[in-house]
Symmetry: C2
Subunit: 369 residues, 2 copies
């Protein structure tokens, strides 16, 4: 059986047009290796890892598979700290600190999501990943050129036609078209207006019309139906995140896992409360009470720092009030299967829907006996 569009497979040297989303901190090397080994594209979310951790994780993956691997990095601009805004944010969180018996003035660690930089370039040159994907745009021309020189294929996410064109013009080899349904952080980088963000059904064909490179559909795709639909819309592959959070390999806390298992279609929102940047998560107390979108959150990723003590103060008693419950809108379609088995199952079932799509002249069939 042949996929109706082979462009992404050919570009990336993979067998199944399914990219496991990098999901920094939630996806694991075990997950990436399992997906890669069965023919999908396994991804390692490097934004939350040190250079040594990236080396160790990729090394663990390489021991399990020789198939292509994607290293994912963030390309946001590191924000200047703004003491007044930080103090105001701490002020808004004060009552929660008091409620949990924590000192509202306690120091909090500054989160370090270092944007992709020169040291990362050196690491890419050293590790030679087959694919490098970026979120929140692209690094500057010099850095990007160094990554391309290593031979890695470049992917990045677009949340609008404008962003897709921008990415293609700067040398992206394929565009991840991230519809509004997607869980986690929106990759948006030319606008921060979430109210005009488009859903996958509307966005994928418009991006496919606007760019020449392969389009990868993302957002709301959590089973074979979404994969088959993505091909109909003009995509040549999909990136799936939430579906992989159900895998045993996912680094998902029991509270988060429980929330995913019971999440309904209408229980997630785009919120900047959890990190300072719009991201989709299951609604919980902190999102409901301070968000979903607020002008008061410090810039990404600073807003998250002051939430960390609340989370660690409340989770031991079984509360997810302050836990980032990342999820897309189709968690309900998730299945608890190992990542490799899930990938194969998704591909087989999508192919069963799509497999007969080859034009008859290329695929003559025998009459049934």
């Amino acid at each position: 059986m042949i996929w109706p569009n082979q462009r992404l497979l050919d570009l990336l040297g993979i067998d199944l047009p399914i990219i496991q989303a990098p999901m920094a901190g939630l996806a694991t090397s075990a997950m990436a290796a399992a997906v890669a080994e069965v023919g999908g594209l396994g991804s390692l979310g490097c934004a939350v890892l040190s250079a040594d951790q990236i080396r160790a994780e990729l090394s663990a993956i390489r021991r399990q598979t020789s198939k292509p691997i994607n290293l994912n990095f963030f390309c946001h601009t590191s924000p200047a700290t703004d003491p007044a805004q930080e103090a105001a944010w701490r002020g808004r969180l004060k009552s929660y600190y008091v409620e949990l018996g924590l000192d509202p003035e306690m120091p909090v660690s500054t989160l370090t999501f270092a944007p992709f930089g020169s040291a990362h370039c050196d690491l890419v040159a050293e590790l030679k990943p087959e694919v490098v994907s970026f979120h929140f745009g692209l690094p500057n021309e010099d850095l990007l050129g160094r990554v391309k020189a290593v031979g890695a294929k470049i992917l990045s996410s677009a949340t609008s036609v404008k962003e897709a064109i921008w990415l293609e013009q700067r040398g992206c080899d394929a565009i991840i078209t991230q519809g509004l349904e997607a869980g986690g952080h929106r990759g948006m980088f030319l606008s921060d207006n979430v109210s005009t963000q488009a859903g996958t059904m509307a966005l994928v064909p418009q991006v496919a019309d606007a760019v020449g490179v392969p389009v990868i559909a993302a957002g709301g795709i959590a089973d074979e139906r979404g994969i088959a639909a993505a091909f109909m819309l003009g995509a040549s592959g999909v990136q799936m995140g939430t579906a992989y959070l159900f895998c045993p390999e996912a680094n998902v806390s029991p509270l988060h896992r429980q929330a995913l298992k019971t999440a309904q279609d209408d229980q997630t929102v785009l919120t900047n409360v959890l990190s300072g940047r719009a991201a989709r998560a299951i609604v919980n107390r902190i999102v409901r009470e301070l968000g979903p979108m607020t002008e008061h959150a410090p810039a990404f990723p600073l807003a998250g720092a002051a939430l960390a003590p609340l989370r660690s103060g409340s989770e031991p008693s079984g509360s997810d009030d302050f836990t980032p419950l990342w999820s897309g809108q189709a968690a309900r379609l998730g299945r608890e299967l190992p990542a490799g088995e899930l990938t194969v199952r998704l591909a087989k079932r999508a192919l069963a829907k799509l497999g007969a799509l080859q034009p008859a002249p290329e695929q003559p069939r025998k009459s049934p006996s």
Copy 2:
């Protein structure tokens, strides 16, 4: 060629699984007749029409086609007028009135979107439409029973799994699953929280899993790719609105038409500024300056009344500052074709994508010569 899922065709007695959205005030009898005659389901938006107008419009349709027709009604609760809120709303609009040289205190006509009631039931009994669709839920049990007794098939829109189940339990024959991408008013009736509304890609399979009746996908579907994708997601038909606004039969003002022709994927929002209820439109001045969502808009449909003089005061000078520019997120995919021709073209092209999907044993093919 056979559609991969015939359930909606069988239910409604139509040949093509495309419902032209009723789009009260914008769709016309000429459009509905043209769509019906080629085998789709033509719809007449009755919410803005008097009984006599409905009679006349349906009569015009019946002269052109004997195929099934859908009459669409609104099921909102008529709001009590709130003089204080109305005055506050007029206050917010005052500067626009002054700018246009209008008296901010001028009387405005009260809009009459009468919800479906007993008189409508009598009309349905008299006119015997093959299909009756509702927006904003369903009428009460007694009224609905009277419509069903006439023999009409009942459709209504769900924007969540909860709403879909609610509609099925009350006797809907098929569920229009309205994803976030859709233009015009959201059919939501169990919640007014737009932040948790799901996109078509995520919503359709979840609704298809939750109900036994046929699912009609809507939202972001404006060409054959969306139709084919909808079938992959589990739908047995689609409802398309924005695509039909490009037809010459559409009652769309030149300003609105121009806005549709140039609308990008990221230029629409859900706004309650234009009517008091969340609806998707292309962003224009009034939406940008007062919305997109505001607590200050009087309840649907009252908010629209005070906008009418602004619209009629500004349109003659070529300004769409106050015009409701209804549109879904995929206007860019629209084509200016007559409604019948458009319907046939969409169906043919979707079938070309889907036509080979029948399992080979049922559809033996000859080898190519």
